[in-house]
């Protein structure tokens, strides 16, 4: 196995194992490839085993990246969790307000109090305040 084959194998395994952010992955692969080529220049005839001894196995790479990204991941998850909680609270408040409004309306209706409002749509002058022209009150 010549240098280039060993490097290609290492890069291929590293690419396959690490499934992180695409941009970071590409940057890491570029960095790693340069480092491997530098190593092969100073160690002609190096094998895949030599590369794993010096650079760590591709598994180690994944573990290192996961360990490092775990803090970011936790932060992101916490943010998502807070957004979900906030949305749930807002939805619950909206549902509660609507239910209360509906209950009050039903109560008034059951008490025989009903207001029907008819607006005069003939009026075109919007500067004037629109007033109901007809109101019913059943008591």
């Amino acid at each position: 196995m010549d240098n280039n084959t060993a490097i290609s194998k290492y890069i291929r395994k590293a690419k396959r194992i690490y499934h992180g952010d695409r941009k970071t992955k590409q940057r890491f692969i570029d960095d790693l490839q340069d480092a491997l080529l530098c190593f092969s220049e100073t160690h002609p005839g190096c094998t895949y085993a030599d590369l794993t001894t010096s650079f760590g196995s591709p598994d180690e790479i994944r573990e290192a990246f996961l360990k490092d990204s775990s803090k970011e991941l936790k932060k992101r998850n916490l943010l998502i969790y807070r957004i979900v909680i906030l949305c749930s609270v807002l939805i619950a408040i909206a549902v509660l307000a609507f239910t209360v409004h509906l209950a009050i309306e039903q109560y008034h209706y059951s008490q025989g109090y009903f207001i029907k409002t008819i607006y005069d749509y003939e009026k075109t002058d919007s500067s004037e305040e629109t007033e109901p022209i007809e109101s019913f009150h059943f008591d």
Binding site: T24, D31, L32, D34, C38, F55, G56, I61, A64, F65
Partner: protein, 115 residues
């Protein structure tokens, strides 16, 4: 040999990776492999930093604005990334140095009292 291996992977070392990388980068622009080689050389082989650990740290430092990076084409389909410390990075390095001094001093004192 086993003791040395443990030392190389210790938690204490893990907490100093940012410090040592910034220390090397304050000398000037450097690329990844160069950093790992210099670390090994300056520490007489006692501070070995694998690429898998070094690059995520470099990316984090870059993301936090402590380092700048520049991509340079060094061959056909070969890109080299040079890292450079920023002003913010120098401030952060001073802070890390201070923390390191305080901690090592404190641990030395504890060792003196307990040995």
């Amino acid at each position: 040999m086993a003791d040395k291996k443990i030392r190389k992977q210790s938690n204490i070392k893990h907490g100093t990776i940012e410090l040592v990388l910034l220390l090397l980068l304050q000398q000037g622009q450097k690329y990844g492999y160069q950093l790992s080689q210099e670390l090994e050389e300056y520490s007489n082989g006692d501070y070995e930093l694998k690429e898998a650990t070094m690059y995520p740290t470099l990316y984090r430092l870059t993301q936090n604005g402590y380092l700048n990076c520049e991509q340079v084409q060094v061959g056909v389909r070969r890109t080299r990334v040079y890292y450079e410390i920023t002003e913010e990075g120098r401030v952060y390095l001073d802070k890390l140095r201070e923390e390191y001094s305080v901690i090592t001093g404190a641990i030395s004192n504890i060792m003196k009292h307990t040995d």
